[in-house]
Point group: C2
Chain length 213, copies 2
Amino acid sequence: MLTLYSYWRSSAAYRVRIALGLKGLAYRQVPVHLVKDGGQQHAVEYQSLNPQELVPLLVDGDARIAQSLAILEYLDETHPQPGLLPRDPLQRAQVRALSLHIACDIHPLNNLRVLQYLSGPLGVADEAKTQWIRHWVETGLRAVEEGVANWTGPLSLGERPGYFEACLIPQLYNARRFECDLSGCPRLLAIAARCESLEAFQQAAPEVQPDAQ
Amino acid sequence: MLTLYSYWRSSAAYRVRIALGLKGLAYRQVPVHLVKDGGQQHAVEYQSLNPQELVPLLVDGDARIAQSLAILEYLDETHPQPGLLPRDPLQRAQVRALSLHIACDIHPLNNLRVLQYLSGPLGVADEAKTQWIRHWVETGLRAVEEGVANWTGPLSLGERPGYFEACLIPQLYNARRFECDLSGCPRLLAIAARCESLEAFQQAAPEVQPDAQ
């Protein structure tokens, strides 16, 4: 049985919950509260499992795997059906490039520890912090919107969602939470509408996790 | 012939130069100056090639691929020898997880556009900005240092460097540039010393690029 160390509102953990659902893999979830107790991800026991002190962490037998995209690749290599990525190397690269734009150039600028640093050591006021969030999310998602313009099907695998949607949907969840302007992203919203009707996405949603507040 | 849109001091472009060198692939380099002209990555011609308005971009025939790690995966799938990743899925996941920690949780917080936003809209003073850089680099690299503690060989592929070293060496270059404290990272410095003796790394170094200043 797989074990996922997760936090309901972590968008990186949300990606992995989607991928596990798409593959129909059963897993046990262990909540790691990113705020309580000064952040349970910094506790000695968790740090010994994952020195990166971040969620998610997937435990598969004796193996411990950090980083959501490394977990997605691992799941796709060890449980190939249904695949999360196209088969053609160029199409795989295009999907990975859009996903990495979310995972490297949008999400990390708005995750909890960065927002805490802005408020704390840098003394950034709430309004300016919200502008910071919206700037990176809106700039980044507009580029992703352009990136999906030439797709032949409605989703990254034609009629099926995969790696890309596992990254996009959590980022859109965050964008809505911070009331970002998504009016320039009709294609992404259409992708989201399709995904939201699917069980794998419904069961991965933050609000239905055991640790949701 | 492959074409790489690059900037000498971009650590994401540096990763791809290393990977191309490790695979012995010839390529033409097109410099994109990230500061001059308000940032040439925002110019209409470049934006039409890469809507993400970031370097690197690899052009292979008609294909255009953004995001350094998507490019590394593409090169490894289309030119498998010598491989950049181990063969075993779990070992691949461990290498990807450490690389993604650099690419998602260290580098994006310190790249040029983020530092410009800190200085500009947020009015962060130079000294506080330097502390910000050092905080994320030092915290992140300490976790990477722990991550390599159990390796059986000196490098990620035993005696050979690959995907991981292509991410690590540019990050260490940045760390030194901002005078980060690397005293807690002896294993990473030993890996760097080995890599620096290899031609693929020497030829990818920022200072020897055609656009170096």
